[in-house]
């Protein structure tokens, strides 16, 4: 049984030393590129820098994109995304695989970090008077030909496409309410004030939007 030969939690490092797994060879990177997110996180918990490099390459654009969607500012998004990855390296134990998928946890950390930044810098007030919910399309270019991008795995791409389809299937006003809450960090009261709608209407839109999103994604699966 392989486990018997590697019983220690520090086994990754203990074994890697004699065969020089810590060296940044292409073979090592390639083998880790096949590991699941959860296995990479275990390796990162054992200070495996190559595992971190693989996870970084796998998700950096996604984290940056979500940060940008919240902050609408390239520099702020870059700072926020950096913090997410530094935390991923310094505190990998905060991800607990039994509680859910890695990508969900990563999105949660990314969103919370960006929204904190948004609130801390008082940018929300500025946005409420401007293009709230519709981020400024600034200098950073959107991906061209995303599906062919080798940096992102096919499964993640498929999932992103499914979520986009699901969101497109939701009535516009419900989708706007969900996005204002998630990406702009607005409470129901704030959304109601921004949209000049009654609070009850906003609550209903969020409830129906989440129901529809849940149903649609379940059907997709």
């Amino acid at each position: 049984m392989a486990w018997q030969s590697n019983p220690e939690s520090s086994g990754i490092r203990n074994i890697s030393n004699p065969v020089e797994l810590a060296s940044a060879s292409a073979v090592d990177m390639a083998s880790r590129a096949e590991w699941s997110d959860e296995v990479l996180m275990l390796a990162i918990a054992n200070q495996d820098q190559l595992a971190f490099a693989v996870l970084y390459d796998r998700y950096v654009d996604l984290v940056y994109s979500a940060s940008y969607r919240v902050l609408s500012d390239a520099q702020l998004a870059e700072d926020s995304a950096q913090d997410v990855f530094v935390r991923l390296w310094t505190r990998p134990e905060t991800f607990i695989s039994e509680r859910g998928r890695f990508v969900s946890w990563l999105m949660s950390v990314t969103r919370n970090r960006a929204v904190d930044e948004l609130r801390a810098r008082g940018r929300r007030r500025k946005r409420e008077g401007g293009s709230l919910g519709e981020p400024d399309e600034a200098a950073e270019p959107l991906f061209q030909g995303e599906p062919e991008d080798p940096q992102l795995n096919a499964e993640l791409h498929e999932e992103q496409a499914a979520v986009r389809r699901a969101l497109r299937s939701i009535p516009h006003e419900q989708r706007v309410a969900l996005e204002l809450a998630y990406f702009n960090g607005l409470t129901q009261q704030e959304i109601a004030a921004h949209l000049h709608e009654p609070l009850g209407t906003v609550k209903t839109r969020i409830r129906l939007g989440m129901q529809k999103l849940r149903r649609t994604l379940q059907e997709e699966v």
Binding site: L62, Q82, Q160, L167
Partner: protein
């Protein structure tokens, strides 16, 4: 949040981040203690975080990686350094192989290289297996913890059932019929008061789940109503509520159940759905 459970709607609102800070804090505190609500909220959070995947994809600046590595205290070997490291390792390996070949004169360099590659591949496989098994082990550990928690919950439920049974059998208990004003409901209910255990039980059937509202139990004493807490029915419409009779109450003239907004009301405001009359609870 009290003893009532979080609704799917509340879980969704929490997960998408649309609740005011006080309610968000209340839910966070509740799910820290309530495993069933925690599961509901986790599912909702997983769904809400899918919204993040829909952000238009942008290419992260290449310089970011360097910044991340620096801030994380990591070192990124330069291409030249990597090449030097690999060359040095290769030179050392070659020297060993040549020495072996010189001594034995029989083993080919290619054979040695293949063996080393095989050994390396075997070790890599073992590492992968070990990592996978650690993940599985962690999952099994969590399952064991869940099972232990479920057993503790069952033990607690068994204890409360035993206490109710004792109250039903005790000659010192009052078991009273609970009636609904009007005939709009077919609910039946009982109120059990046990003088020895100083506890009240309220049970009723065919109650409706009321999002945004809650059932609240009140005792009338000296012309005033005192809240005895809130409760909600399960999915089948059955409710069983239990509490210790507050020491400050000298007695009860009657007990009623009302429907109140939100998580309950400090004063009786909502419509009465059940009442118990001619109730003689405790010394007056």
């Amino acid at each position: 949040m009290g003893a009532s459970h979080i609704t799917q709607e509340q879980a969704d609102e929490y997960a998408i981040g649309s609740l005011d800070a006080p309610l968000e804090r209340a839910i966070r505190l509740h799910i820290a203690e309530c495993s069933s609500c925690r599961e509901v909220v986790r599912e909702a959070e997983a769904l809400a975080n899918m919204v993040g995947l829909a952000a238009p994809l942008r290419r992260a600046p290449a310089r970011m990686k360097k910044q991340v590595y620096r801030n994380a205290g990591l070192t990124r070997p330069s291409p030249m350094r990597r090449m030097f490291t690999i060359s040095r390792a290769a030179a050392g390996l070659a020297a060993v192989v040549v020495a072996i070949a010189a001594f034995t004169g029989m083993v080919s360099i290619k054979g040695q290289m293949d063996e080393l590659k095989d050994d390396n591949a075997d070790l890599q496989t073992q590492i992968n297996d070990a990592l996978s098994q650690r993940v599985e082990l962690a999952a099994v550990t969590q399952q064991l913890e869940d099972t232990r928690q479920a057993a503790a919950d069952l033990q607690e439920a068994s204890k409360t059932d035993r206490e109710l049974m004792l109250a039903l059998l005790s000659p010192s208990s009052d078991i009273l019929a609970v009636t609904a004003p009007g005939e709009a409901t077919n609910s039946i209910g009982r109120l059990v008061w046990d003088e020895e255990q100083k506890r009240l039980w309220f049970m009723a059937t065919q109650l409706q789940q009321r999002p945004g509202e809650t059932y609240q139990l009140w005792a009338q004493s000296g012309g005033r109503y005192f809240s005895l807490g809130t409760f909600e029915p399960d999915e089948s419409g059955f409710a069983r509520y239990e509490r210790v009779i507050p020491e400050g109450l000298a007695g009860y003239d009657t007990v009623v159940v009302t429907i109140e907004r939100g998580a309950g009301s400090p004063v009786r405001e909502g419509p009465t759905v059940f009442f118990v009359s001619s109730l003689n609870l405790g010394p007056n």
